[in-house]
Amino acid sequence: MLLGPSLLVSAILFTIGVVGVMLRRNAIVLFMCIELMLNAVNLTFVALSQVLGLGGQVMVFFVMTVAAAEAAVGLAIILAIFRHTRSVDLKNINLLQG
C-alpha cells in the first residue's frame, strides 16, 4: 500500500523545495524549487488517491496545468526583467518596495 512512506518522501521533497526557495537568489532556480514543491504535493495526491478514490489523481491534473501556466508567465516576467536589468538576481529586483 506504500501510503506512509510515500507521504514521508513527499514531505522531505517539499522541505527541500522550501529550503531551495529560501536559499537561492537566482529567479529561475527559485521557480524550479517551486516546481519541486508542486511535485511533492502531486505525490501526496497520488498516494492518497489509493485510499480516497480517483479524485486525487484528477487533482494532480489540475496541479499540473496550474504549474504549467505559472511557469510560463513566471518565465515571461523574468525575461522582461532580464531585458531591463540584465540580471536575474533577486536582490536588485525590488521596485515594489514600501
Partner: protein, 186 residues
Amino acid sequence: MSGQTVFYILAGAAILSALLCIIQKNPIASVLWLISTMFALAGIYVLLQAQFIAAIQVLVYAGAIMVLFLFVIMLLNLGRDTGDLRGMPVRLAAVLVAGGLLGELVLLARVTPGSMALLRGTAVGAGTPMASFPAGQAGAAAPGAQGVVGAIAEPLFRTYLVPFEITSILLLAAVVGAVVLAKRKL
C-alpha cells in the same frame, strides 16, 4: 525484488536529486537534476497504481515544462556559475524553517489507512481498514473495467467538469500573458 525495495530505491533517487538540484551552482545542472527527480517520481506513481499520471508526469512535466526552463536558461545564457547563496541570517532562518517543517511532516509517516479510518470514526472491526473507504475500493477496482485512462476520465469529465473548463481558461490567460510580457514592443 518486491515493490517495497523498488519504492525505496526510487524514493532515495528522488530525494538525492532534489538535494543536488538546489545545491548546484550552475542552473543548467539544477534543471537536469530536477528532471531526474521527476523521473523518479514517475516511477513511484507507477508503483502506486497511477500509471496514467506517471505517463503524464513524464510527458508534460518533465518533457514540456522542464524543457521550457532549459530553453529560458539557454536564451538568457545564464549557464555561468552564479554564486547566489544567501547570507548567514537567511541560512539560519532556512535551517529553522526546515527543522520546523520536518518536525511537523515526519508525523505523516505513521499515516495508514487504519489510522485514517480511526480519524473518520468508523468502527475498526468491520473487516479490513479499507472497508471504510468505498471510494478507495471503487478507485482500485476501476482500471480493470475501463482501463487505466478510462478510470481517470470518468471523474474528470463528470464530477470535476467545471474545474476542468476553468483550467482551460487559466491556460489561455497564461498564454496571452506570456506573449504580452515577453514581446519587445507591441
